[in-house]
Symmetry: C2
Subunit: 216 residues, 2 copies
C-alpha cells in the first residue's frame, strides 16, 4: 500500500513528468537490486513490478537493460569519483595523495561490493559499442592519479604519463579485486591496504630511482 | 551423425567405464562452451544434449554445475601454471623472469579470454565453500613469482615475501584485466605488455632502492 501511494501519479501530473519520475524510480530500483544481488538482480519483470508499471513500459523509460545498467554504472562511477577526489585532496604530498587515492578505492569497493563488481562484470551485447558518455565517466577516474603523478614525473610527456596512470590504477585495481575475491585467495582488508601502500610506494621509489618508463 | 558415432557406448563397455567416459566428455563440452560463450554458455540442458544423455543424468556425472565449472577451472589453471613455468624458466635473471612470467600471463589471458575471465567471474552458491583442491590449484600460481623474488628479497621473511608475491601477481592481473576489457578503457596488447614490463621493473627498482615493504 505504501508503495502504491508513492508511485501513483500526482493528480495533475503531465505525461512527460510521469515519465521523468518513473525513469528515476526505475534507475533507483535497478541500483538497489544490483547492490543487493549483483548483476543477476537486474530483472526487467521484477523492476517493472517494483515501480508499478507493466513489463513493456520499462522499454518506454530506457532503451534496454544494457542502457539501464549503464545509467546505474554512471551513478556508481560518479560516487567513486567523489570519494577519490576527497581522498586525494587531503594528502600533504603527491606520494601520499596516490596512496590515499588507492586506499579510498579499496574502501569504496568494500562498501559497494556488488555495484563495484558489476562495473567490470557487465558485458554489452556483442554488436553494441559503449556510448561516448559512459567512456567519458571512466576517463575522469584517471585524473585523480594523473594530478599527483605530474610533479613526480616532470620528464614524461602526456602520453607516457597517461599510460603510467593507467598502469597504476590497474595495478591497484588488481590488488583490490583479487583481495576482495573470497574465492581467489582473498586477503583481509587491513592486509589489502598494506599491499596497496607497498605497491604505490615501491613504484614511486622505482620512478625516483631509475627514471620513468617510456623515457627509456 | 558424427556426434552419434563418437558418443555411442562401445559394445562391451561396462557401466563404470561408461561413466568415466561420459564425465570426461561432459567436462570437455563444458570447457568448449565456456571458451566459446563465457560462463553463460554453461547450460545443463545443452551439455546433456551434446554428450547424448538425459538432463538428469548430468547429475550422476558431476554434483552440480558449480562442481563442473571447478573441474574446467582446474584444467585452465593447470595450463596457465605450465605456461608461467615455461616463461619463468627461460629467463637469464630473476628480474627478467618476473617480467617474462607477467608477459606470459597476458598472452595466456588473450589466448583463453573467456576461460580466463570465467575464473574470476564465477561465484559459488553463497553457502558453499570452495573445495580444498581448487584452492591448492590457485596457490601454485604464486610459486612462479615467489621463486624469482627470493634472491631479490633476502631480507624478507616468508610471510612478507608471500604477501609481496600476491601483490605483484594481483597488480599484473589488474593491468591485464583492465587492458583486455574492451569496455573499461581497454589498451592494445602491445601497450599492455609495456605496462607489465614497467610495473615489474619499477617495483623491483623500488625494492632495490628502499628495502622491501614489511621490513619497515
Amino acid at each position: 500500500m505504501e508503495n502504491e501511494t508513492k508511485i501513483r501519479p500526482a493528480p495533475k501530473e503531465k505525461p512527460a513528468e510521469r515519465k521523468v519520475r518513473l525513469r528515476a524510480a526505475l534507475i533507483e530500483a535497478a541500483e538497489a537490486a544490483i547492490a543487493r544481488e549483483g548483476l543477476a538482480g537486474l530483472r526487467a519483470r521484477d523492476l517493472a513490478a517494483e515501480i508499478g508499471v507493466a513489463l513493456g513500459q520499462i522499454y518506454n523509460l530506457v532503451g534496454d537493460l544494457d542502457e539501464l545498467f549503464l545509467l546505474v554504472a554512471g551513478r556508481t562511477l560518479r560516487r567513486l569519483d567523489k570519494a577519490l577526489a576527497q581522498a586525494g585532496a587531503g594528502a600533504g604530498s603527491p606520494e601520499q595523495s596516490l596512496v590515499d587515492v588507492g586506499l579510498a578505492y579499496r574502501a569504496f569497493a568494500s562498501a559497494n561490493l556488488h555495484l563495484w563488481r558489476a562495473l567490470f562484470e557487465h558485458r554489452m551485447a556483442p554488436d553494441k559499442p559503449l556510448p561516448e558518455w559512459a567512456l567519458a565517466d571512466q576517463m575522469e577516474l584517471f585524473a585523480h592519479i594523473l594530478g599527483p603523478l605530474a610533479p613526480l614525473t616532470p620528464e614524461l610527456d602526456d602520453d607516457a604519463r597517461r599510460l603510467l596512470a593507467h598502469t597504476l590504477f590497474s595495478a591497484v585495481h588488481g590488488v583490490v579485486f583479487l583481495g576482495l575475491e573470497e574465492k581467489f585467495v582473498g586477503v583481509p582488508p587491513g592486509l589489502i591496504d598494506r599491499q596497496i601502500e607497498s605497491l604505490v610506494r615501491l613504484t614511486l621509489a622505482g620512478l625516483a630511482r631509475g627514471g620513468a618508463p617510456g623515457a627509456r
